[in-house]
């Protein structure tokens, strides 16, 4: 079978179309996973962007240990305290990072830990209070060397 010049162009256009439509689909799957994780945590409620302060470096040289901390503004009394805080990394193979469970005995809803980041991405902190409110904060961290490699 001989391939005409016209067929070559048609083939090229087809490949280009696949390349264009293929890429957003990957990004979309990532967003879907994050959205699913947010929904699972909040129970369907739309998180309010307030009260949570997420502290992360703007640029992380080593994605293997990225220091991250959060603080939630809350009276931490018996009737109004933060019960759970979850950290999500949007661009990691699996978005879950850690879930913290607080009690009024915790005194303050804040914690610091070190996490792995596979690439430059958004880190999300979600907080749930005993009064049923869900709060959120989001930070972009630029990663020079990814931390999930093998």
């Amino acid at each position: 079978m001989t391939i005409t010049r016209r067929q070559v162009f048609a083939l090229g256009a087809g490949v280009a179309a696949v390349a264009i439509t293929g890429l957003p689909r990957v990004a979309l799957a990532e967003e879907d996973k994050v959205q699913a994780a947010i929904d699972a945590f909040s129970g369907g409620a739309t998180p309010e962007t307030a009260n949570v302060t997420l502290t992360a470096p703007e640029i992380a040289e080593n994605g293997n240990t990225v220091p991250i901390s959060f603080a939630v503004d809350s009276p931490m009394s018996d009737d109004d305290h933060v019960t759970d805080v979850t950290l999500l990394a949007a661009g990691n193979p699996s978005p879950g990072v850690a879930t913290f469970h607080f009690t009024p005995m915790s005194g303050a809803a804040e914690a610091t830990t070190r996490m792995r980041l596979a690439k430059t991405q958004d880190v999300i902190a979600l907080a749930k209070t005993s009064t049923g409110k869900v709060y959120m904060d989001r930070k972009t961290v630029k990663v020079t060397i990814g931390g999930c490699g093998g």
């Binding site: 240990t65 990691n92 699996s94 913290f100 009690t103 303050a108 610091t112 792995r116 093998g150």
Partner: protein, 108 residues
């Protein structure tokens, strides 16, 4: 991995109802399950998946960890001290073993 050695930093004394900061670190490789060995076979996941801090037998703070937590997991958090007592820290490994340590605090 019996070599996991927990380290905690808790103040020795506190005033009543003071909110103190506790720092903990445990040596653990936190194998994520994403990496492959030199033959290309995936290395099975082995991480610490749960951490709990109890004060006089009552849970103050706990945490579920995922593979995205770095090796030698470090945690810093707060606790309120209503009375003298003992903090007990427990880490749970994927293989079921538990590492724990205790620290006393006195209220003046």
């Amino acid at each position: 991995m019996a070599s996991s050695k927990p380290r905690v930093k808790v103040p020795k004394t506190a005033s009543k109802d003071e909110v103190i900061t506790i720092k903990t670190l445990i040596s653990h490789k936190m194998e994520s399950g994403q990496r492959k060995d030199s033959d290309g076979n995936p290395i099975p996941r082995q991480i610490i998946n749960k951490f709990t801090c109890d004060f006089n037998g009552k849970t103050v703070f706990s945490c579920d960890l995922e593979p995205a937590i770095s090796a030698n997991p470090y945690l810093e958090f707060s606790a309120k001290v209503p009375e003298s007592g003992t903090f007990k820290f427990t880490w749970v490994d994927d293989d079921g073993s538990e590492y724990s340590t205790e620290s006393k605090i006195a209220v003046e």
